[in-house]
Symmetry: C2
């Protein structure tokens, strides 16, 4: 047996990886296991390793402290444990650590920096041709998005019948040449798959983790969708034993990336073969095997999952009504006492489906409604395209009007004290967001009017405090000084939709 390979230094919250040689025969994914124990002054972490092909096994670790560490790798094919030492250097510039829940309803990086999710969705971007993936990264780099939802398994759905670049298992896929929008849900078209669900294709995962790293470099969280129902290959209907093998492999490979979030599934309730017991079992594996406690949730189609389950760190919600979406944030916050992220509230676009044809105005309105109620929303884009390249599925380029406005919203969020907002009050035509934190009460008000168009607004807080008032046009992205006010005052508005007033106490 050869030597193990690793680098002598890694930065805090970076990926420390030890590669060890091992057997390539039998089924290395199933018959051989290895573990690593990583020890520093402040932590001792045990993680599973995984087989990466070509007779190489890997163990990954994300250190949470700077300083000297040692490690020990052992397994059922290892006679004498591999050991070594390495140094964890302080986190560099843009590295703030993994994102955690902060102040019950919000998020912050582990170093305390507030994190305001402005997410987007490209379900199958890592399964597209490399050029398109590069284009997606270039688009993301220019964008405000700091979270992206995407699938580990390839996706079979309208606008996306193409073969993925790689498959997660050894084997051969069913014939996709006769797929149409009419027959794609027909079980007949799914005949002919031949997969070994106990033998992973490491290439599929290597490519994916390269993208997780790329996103990490861009400061973008990877909201990994581990399971989903958009399937013609049988990945959504494996046996419990196969599912568990998959979950452990995924965790062993990806958990050490600080920007990973676990989305147990997209539209879990459409996965007919899975029961609540299955979802709870996956969650238990995740809690047992991910030592870093990355954020965990599960996304619905119709029925919300019981987000009060202790393993759920935040709500990942798909809107449940064609007219009210973000308006329900307050209710969900109250019910679950966790951050509310609306991971699907219809996409800006013009495809034939209601979930993918709202205007940029309406999407941005939903973001603002969510934000002022102390929640968060997620973007997606579905414009008809001559080559069927839709951002929501494939990535590529953005065509809509909302992304620029979401950048503006992000600016507003960053100018809000504390970690985020909560709903202070509600009237027929406005929602008022104030900082969540008690320390900032009375200091900052964001009054948002949505599609209502008041021509003016009257305010009164008290007789003595002075307030700096600004009129915010959330669509045209302007902030207009409306002066310093005290006592009873009236602020004029242009009578357009999508306006807000920001009022800040002058200390």
């Amino acid at each position: 047996m050869g030597e193990c390979v690793y680098k002598k230094t890694v930065e805090k919250w970076g990926v420390f990886e030890v590669t060890v040689p091992g057997p390539a025969g039998r089924n290395p994914f199933f018959d051989y296991q290895l573990k690593g124990v990583f020890r520093g002054k402040n932590e001792e972490v045990e993680v599973d390793g995984f087989y990466d092909g070509d007779g190489l096994y890997k163990v990954r670790f994300m250190p949470s402290f700077a300083g000297d560490y040692s490690f020990k790798i052992y397994g059922n094919f290892i006679d004498k444990a591999f050991t070594g030492n390495f140094t964890v250097t302080p986190a560099s510039g843009g590295n703030h650590g993994p994102v955690r829940v902060a102040n019950t309803y919000h998020f912050a990086y582990e170093d305390g920096t507030p994190y305001y999710p402005i997410g987007t969705t490209c379900y199958a971007w890592t399964h597209q041709k490399p050029e398109l993936q590069e284009k997606t990264l270039a688009t993301l780099k220019k964008s405000v998005f700091n979270k992206i939802r995407f699938c580990i398994f390839p996706k079979h759905y309208i606008y996306n019948f193409n073969e993925p670049q790689t498959y997660p298992y050894e084997g051969t896929p069913c014939d996709s040449s006769k797929l149409t929008v009419e027959n794609f849900m027909d079980p007949a078209v799914r005949q002919g798959n031949a997969w070994d669900f106990k033998r992973f294709n490491p290439r599929h995962f290597q490519l994916l983790e390269q993208r997780i790293e790329d996103l990490m470099t861009l400061g973008i969280e990877a909201d990994l969708i581990v399971m989903h129902p958009y399937d013609r290959w049988g990945f959504s209907s494996m046996s419990p034993e196969e599912d568990d093998l998959y979950w452990k492999y995924v965790i062993a490979r990806f958990a050490a990336y600080r920007n990973v979030w676990w989305s147990l599934a997209n539209e879990y309730d459409l996965m007919e073969k899975k029961t609540l017991r299955d979802w709870e079992r996956y969650a238990a594996i995740l809690c047992a095997k991910d030592p870093y406690n990355h954020l965990r949730s599960i996304h619905n189609c119709i029925s919300l999952y019981d987000f009060s389950r202790p393993w759920v760190t935040h709500c990942s919600i798909q809107r449940v009504d064609p007219y009210k979406s973000a308006e329900l944030v307050s209710e969900w916050r109250e019910r679950y006492k966790k951050p509310v992220v609306l991971d699907e509230i219809c996409y800006e676009g013009n495809i034939e489906h209601g979930w993918g044809n709202i205007s940029g105005q309406e999407l941005v309105r939903r973001f603002w409604e969510a934000t002022c109620r102390g929640g968060y929303a997620t973007h997606g884009e579905t414009f008809l395209h001559p080559e069927d390249i839709l951002w929501w599925s494939h990535g590529g380029e953005l065509h809509g009007e909302s992304p620029e406005r979401l950048r503006f919203l992000y600016r507003i969020l960053r100018e809000t004290p504390g970690h985020g907002l909560k709903q202070h009050s509600l009237s027929w035509d406005s929602v008022t967001g104030v900082p969540e934190s008690p320390a900032h009460q009375g200091a900052h008000y964001l009054d948002y009017y949505g599609f209502y168009r008041p021509g003016f607004r009257r305010f009164y807080f008290d007789d003595t405090t002075k307030y700096q008032v600004e009129v915010v046009d959330t669509w045209n992205m302007t902030i207009t000084d409306a002066g310093i006010h005290q006592g009873r005052f009236t602020i004029e508005l242009p009578g357009r939709e999508y306006m807000a007033i920001r009022i800040r106490k002058i200390e």
Copy 2:
């Protein structure tokens, strides 16, 4: 005692009026009563008369059949009944009779002509200066509106603190010179009223019935709001005896006008002094005293009245949610099995209140949503005005973008077979309206997309029927031929908001 005065002919559904002399002393409104019995070949109707001032009493009757009639007037001040004969001629051109419920959820004039309400709201227009009233009538004449809601009692509310032209009672009003938007709800500002609630001011009612007649001439239904809470004079807190006297006077005066609808109240639930028992008592008086069974309803602020009460002919609803309004029509139809008229769903405008600052687009969308679900909506307009003349309260001129689009909707309704639509189906981004009548099933579909923007739509009804398809832009008011189709077909749409597709079977 003198002679009675009347015309020898009246048209069917016209107002036949007999004037009789009587005592002007004591309290003619309270101490003297008279009744009329009107007899033709097909009907015998008994109605109350009323004192109209100057020693003159009147009895009014609306004949429902052409032919010869006789009448007899008697009362506690009349020694020998007045009698006479008159001829009812056929209804002339635009006179289709009173509006009735048709086909459970819709309306038709008594002669069977469909009536599609496109209502508007000018609560206090008859209390404004005569020039402004004339301007309102001129505006209405050019408009599509065929129903208008307005109050018998004067209105005290923001933007409307001015004195009415006349008061309904003898007496003097409280001082209004110190009213402001801050104090107008304060009981203190209502001190100083001195009214005799047993002595009406006939002039107030004469002026109002002139306007009812003007509306009749224009073919517009007068949705009379008999009681309301916007009051500084005490008209909303009279005693039961005074209330009943008022109700009987109102019915005696106005019931013979074919275009009258009875709205027992606006925002009945804001009238603190009235109980459900009161409302039911007024309704009982109305049912007993109005022999023509004009349409009857009662309008809520928050809590819907129990529209299943047998005296209620149709639902007169104020939206109960800032985001969903017309979307609830289907539910209300199901619950009440009566026509659903959304008499307040926010007004096009830009005032400071949420009920009065939505866009023309949003108001027209609400109309279409209501229409395709088999209901109806009512317009109102509240734009800030240098002289505080707001259509919703004062009438005057229209400034918004919705009225033209409502004319277009009215055209679409008139081109729909039968008496109106019902919801055929619902998807996330569309509501499909079809004719209510079973006779027209499968012949006509109106697919409305609201703020959703599908770029195309696929249809399939059957293999053999041919359909004429049109793309309807409800905002730009265009109808574009999309060809004749059969079997499976796809209709392209421009990817804009507020589009519809109309599909009509080719017979």
